[in-house]
C-alpha cells in the first residue's frame, strides 16, 4: 500500500540535494548564521516575523509588532509578497529577488546574508503559504536551518525544503544595506530594484547601491543612466549630464538617456542643445515604442516652450 502511494506521488528520488548546489571545495563546510535574530510568529503572522528577522540582520531596529500594520492583511490572514518588498523599501533597505535556484540561495548564506523565502508547505490543492528565513545549511546531513514559525532553529531536509520552495516558483529575497550587492546579481533586476527605491529613499542612498553596480558592469549604459537620474535628483546637473553622456557613449540606442539629457539641458536653459538631442532621439525612436515617443514629444514641447519664453543659460552649458 505504502510503496504504491510513494510511486503515485512521485517522490522516490532521495539523493542528497546540497552537493549539486555547492561549488567545488565548499561541499563539506557547514554554514550557519547563528547571530540571526528570531521572532516567533504570532497567529498567521509569519510575514511580519520573518521580515523583522531579515531587516534586523541588515541593521534595522524593528519588531514584528511594528510590521503587522505594514504587511499583514487581516481579511486574508496573511501577507503578500509585494507588500513584503514594498515595506522593506520604507526602511531604506534594498529588497532584491535572488535568482530562483538553490546555489544562489546558498551563496547568499556564505556571504553572511540570511534569505527570506516563500514556501508552500502544503500541496497545490491544499496550499499552506509560509514565509521563513533560511540561515544555514549542513552538507554532511543534507539539511537546511531556518527561522520558521515558532521554531528558532528548524532543521529541514534540503530535499523537502526544495519541494516546498519550488511550489512558490523559488521566490526568495535578500535585504541589502546601502552599498551592498547580491552575490550573483542580474543587471536588469538589480537596476529595477534600485529604481523602485526612488520614491522612498534619498538619491544619496540610490547612489550607494549604484556605485558598486558601476564596478560590476562597467560597460552598461543603463547603470550610467540610473546614476544620472540619481545625480539629477540630487541637484547635480553637470554630473548628471556627464553620466547621461557616458550612458550614450556606451549604448547610443539608449533613448531614455537621451531624453533625460535633453530635458536636463532644457532646464539649464541650453535649449538649442536640448532640442538637438531630443530630435536625434525622435529620429532614432521611429514608431517602435509609443510610450517612449510620447515622452520624447513632451520633452520637446517643454524645451520649445522654454525657448519661446526666452530662457537662456545662466552660465555655460553642462
Amino acid at each position: 500500500m505504502i510503496p504504491a502511494f510513494v510511486v503515485f506521488t512521485g517522490c522516490v528520488s532521495h539523493g542528497p540535494v546540497l552537493p549539486d548546489a555547492l561549488p567545488k571545495g565548499e561541499s563539506d563546510s557547514t554554514v550557519e548564521l547563528t547571530e540571526t535574530p528570531f521572532f516567533p510568529q504570532a497567529r498567521y503572522q509569519c510575514g511580519p516575523a520573518s521580515l523583522a528577522t531579515v531587516l534586523t540582520s541588515a541593521g534595522v531596529d524593528v519588531r514584528p509588532q511594528a510590521l503587522t500594520s505594514q504587511v499583514y492583511l487581516p481579511e486574508k490572514h496573511g501577507s503578500l509578497q509585494i507588500e513584503m518588498v514594498a515595506a522593506t523599501r520604507r526602511y531604506h533597505r534594498l529588497p532584491y529577488r535572488i535568482n530562483p535556484n538553490l546555489s544562489d540561495l546558498l551563496a547568499e548564506l556564505r556571504a553572511g546574508r540570511p534569505v527570506l523565502v516563500f514556501q508552500n508547505l502544503g500541496v497545490k490543492m491544499i496550499p499552506v503559504w509560509h514565509y521563513a528565513v533560511v540561515v544555514g545549511y549542513d552538507p554532511a546531513n543534507d539539511v537546511m536551518f531556518l527561522r520558521s514559525g515558532k521554531e528558532r532553529r528548524r532543521v529541514t531536509s534540503a530535499g523537502l525544503f526544495l519541494k516546498t520552495w519550488k511550489r512558490t516558483g523559488k521566490w526568495a529575497i535578500v535585504v541589502l544595506r546601502p552599498g551592498e550587492m547580491p552575490v550573483n546579481p542580474d543587471l536588469e533586476r538589480y537596476l529595477a530594484a534600485v529604481g523602485a527605491m526612488a520614491k522612498t529613499a534619498p538619491p544619496r542612498l540610490l547612489l550607494a547601491w549604484l556605485r558598486p553596480a558601476e564596478k560590476q558592469w562597467p560597460q552598461s549604459g543603463l547603470v550610467q543612466f540610473a546614476i544620472g537620474n540619481a545625480l539629477y535628483d540630487q541637484g547635480k546637473a553637470a554630473a548628471a549630464a556627464s553620466a547621461f553622456r557616458k550612458a550614450l557613449s556606451l549604448d547610443p540606442t539608449l533613448l531614455v538617456a537621451r531624453n533625460n539629457l535633453a530635458y536636463l539641458l532644457g532646464r539649464q536653459g541650453c535649449v538649442d542643445q536640448g532640442l538637438e538631442e531630443v530630435d536625434k532621439a525622435l529620429d532614432q525612436a521611429g514608431d517602435q515604442n509609443a510610450d517612449l515617443k510620447k515622452t520624447l514629444l513632451e520633452t520637446r514641447s517643454e524645451i520649445e516652450a522654454r525657448k519661446e519664453s526666452g530662457a537662456a543659460a545662466s552660465g555655460s552649458c553642462p
Binding site: V6, L73, L80, Q81, I82, A87, L121, V256, E302
Partner: protein, 126 residues
C-alpha cells in the same frame, strides 16, 4: 451618449483630483530609472494618471481587506506602478503567507499522509 458623458465627467473629476498630485511631479518629462526599466523590457508603461488611479484603487482594496486607511496610504506609497497594477488586478488570487493550517477531517488526514511521505512540511513536530 449618456455613457460618454459619464466617462467625460469621471475623467474630468479624476483630472481635478490629480492636479495636486501632478503638481508635485516637477519632472514630468524626465524618465525615472524604474519606468525606463519597464520601457526597456517592453512591458506596458503606466503613465502618471493611470498610476494615480491604480494607487487609489489598491488603497480601497487594502481597506476592504481590513487595513486602516492611513496605514493603507503608507503601504502603497513605496509600491512601483507594476506592483500596484498587479495588486489591483490580482489581489484576491495572490497567495498570502500565513504559515498556519486550519483544516479538519479528511483534508487533515490527507496532509498527514503526505507529510509522512515527505511531500509536505506542514507539521513542525511529528
Amino acid at each position: 451618449m449618456k455613457a460618454t458623458m459619464k466617462l467625460v465627467v469621471t475623467v474630468v473629476a479624476g483630472m481635478s483630483l490629480l492636479s495636486t498630485t501632478l503638481m508635485s511631479v516637477a519632472n514630468a518629462a524626465m524618465i525615472g530609472t524604474q519606468s525606463a526599466m519597464v520601457m526597456e523590457q517592453r512591458s506596458e508603461y503606466i503613465g502618471d494618471i493611470k498610476n494615480w488611479l491604480s494607487q487609489e484603487n489598491v488603497k480601497k482594496q487594502l481597506v476592504q481587506l481590513g487595513v486602516n486607511p492611513s496605514d493603507a496610504s503608507e503601504r502603497i506609497s513605496s509600491m512601483t506602478p507594476d506592483e500596484l497594477r498587479t495588486l489591483h488586478q490580482r489581489i484576491d488570487e495572490l497567495p498570502a503567507g500565513a504559515g498556519l493550517l486550519e483544516v479538519i477531517g479528511i483534508v487533515f488526514v490527507v496532509l498527514l499522509i503526505l507529510e509522512l511521505l515527505g511531500v509536505t512540511n506542514v507539521f513542525s513536530r511529528i
